[in-house]
């Protein structure tokens, strides 16, 4: 691989979007080329600089406007649907009407999940299998899950407030593959388990099992479970920071 080849692959390489083969060829070239190493380092520094630009979350006014607009538009639609259904019913009167039950989303037993979450946390520490991917860079950890899970877990480094990201791994919990994110707080380890939420309501709850605290919340359609032997106040601070 030449310097021009590296130049062409610079962005996918720093974005970790190269295939394995290309990434290996680039790494091999980098080990012997200081100029290209510098170019890669510059690109990464630019990324850090750009990520200081603001993120604009939706203000409450938008949430309110959206929910009003969505509901208004839906009620119009529903009237039309009813009108169409009524016409259809008249047309097939005497025919058989099948009413299918809608089948509500079943809440998995939260207590069973808490037990599983704690057991998994303990196992990860005892078996010394905390990491499949070890990195403090959220842009390394997040893409690592690509292709391994059918969802993309939110990954945020919280080093700025004293909860550095340490890495992640795959787990099997609540009957499905899930993402486990690992954070450190001094000597304490925090496991955050993430999978797409099936709960109909979002519930923030704190539970304690065998001296481990478990915080649960749902956000952006994801169900998150943070577990640690950290004290309640600090775990709560951590959970609140992740919810921001």
């Amino acid at each position: 691989m030449t310097c021009e080849d590296v130049d062409r692959h610079l962005d996918p390489y720093v974005d970790r979007e190269c295939d394995q083969e290309a990434a290996m060829a680039i790494r091999e070239h980098l080990s012997g080329c200081a100029a290209c190493r510098q170019r890669v380092a510059d690109r990464q520094a630019l990324g850090r600089l750009v990520r200081t630009a603001p993120y604009y979350p939706a203000p409450d006014s938008v949430r309110a406007r959206v929910s009003t607009a969505v509901r208004r538009s839906l009620s119009t639609r529903r009237m039309l649907t009813w009108a169409a259904a009524a016409t259809l019913l008249l047309a097939v009167s005497g025919g058989l009407l099948i009413v299918r039950s809608t089948g509500s989303v079943r809440l998995s037993s939260a207590d069973a999940i808490v037990d599983e979450v704690v057991a998994d946390h303990v196992r990860s520490l005892m078996a010394d299998h905390l990491f499949d991917i070890r990195s403090a860079d959220q842009h390394t950890v997040k893409p690592w899950f690509l292709g391994k899970l059918d969802f993309s877990p939110p990954v945020t480094d919280l080093a700025s407030i004293g909860f550095p990201l340490a890495g992640g791994r795959l787990e099997y919990l609540a009957g499905r593959p899930v993402a486990a994110l690992v954070y450190q707080r001094q000597k304490h380890t925090i496991n955050v388990f993430v999978w797409p939420a099936v709960e109909t309501t979002s519930s923030n709850a704190l539970r304690t099992v065998h001296g481990f605290h478990v915080e649960h919340w749902t956000r952006d359609g994801m169900s998150l479970w943070a577990v640690s032997d950290l004290n309640v106040a600090e775990l709560n601070e951590f959970a609140r920071a992740l919810q921001r």
Binding site: L10, D42, A45, L46, Y56, A58, V70
Partner: protein, 175 residues
């Protein structure tokens, strides 16, 4: 009530939708209008959402909503610089990004420099660096092949770096 699943699948990406709209429009009020339009459309198209990526799906709708508002307003059309006519400025080698980072004003200027990039460049950087989208997701939002995402990101970053250096040098020259 919304269509089954809409609240759980789509509304969780409202922050992403607003952030993207805000960077596209560079204006709070307009971003709100775009997001509202987009959500009404999203609800209509909701049955077409397959289970893969609701965020990219919603962001693509935000983009369409913005472009259709824009086409109703001729004044803003100047914002869209055709990519081919845009001359690429290769960044000057005198300041590396690390040095820029250490200059406090550069960090503050990042927002302005990014906001002033032509929209086609601005959006790929916002989606990648601020929203954390993969190339595949960006391709789905912007509706271009992944190869184009790659080259557009490269050009966008060169331009952003050049703009940041210009503003850093201006600061140095200022008394």
């Amino acid at each position: 009530m919304s269509p089954r699943g809409f609240d759980e699948k789509v509304l969780p990406h409202l922050d992403a939708a607003f952030n993207y709209a805000r960077w596209l429009t560079r204006n709070d009020g307009e971003a709100e209008d775009v997001v509202q339009d987009a959500c009404v459309r999203a609800m209509r198209f909701f049955p077409s959402l397959r289970d893969d990526d609701a965020r990219a799906w919603l962001l693509a709708i935000v983009r369409n909503a913005w472009y259709s508002r824009l086409s109703r307003r001729t004044s803003a059309a100047a914002d869209i610089v055709p990519l081919n006519s845009a001359v690429d400025v290769r960044a000057d080698e005198s300041l590396d990004p690390e040095a820029l980072m250490l200059q406090q004003h550069a960090v503050r200027d990042v927002r302005d420099a990014l906001a002033q990039l032509p929209v086609d460049f601005r959006e790929v950087i916002v989606l990648r660096e601020i929203e954390g989208c993969s190339y595949k997701e960006i391709a789905a939002v912007v509706k271009v092949p992944i190869g184009t995402v790659m080259s557009r990101l490269a050009r966008a970053r060169e331009r952003l770096l050049a703009a940041l250096k210009r503003s850093a040098l201006r600061m140095e020259e200022a008394p």
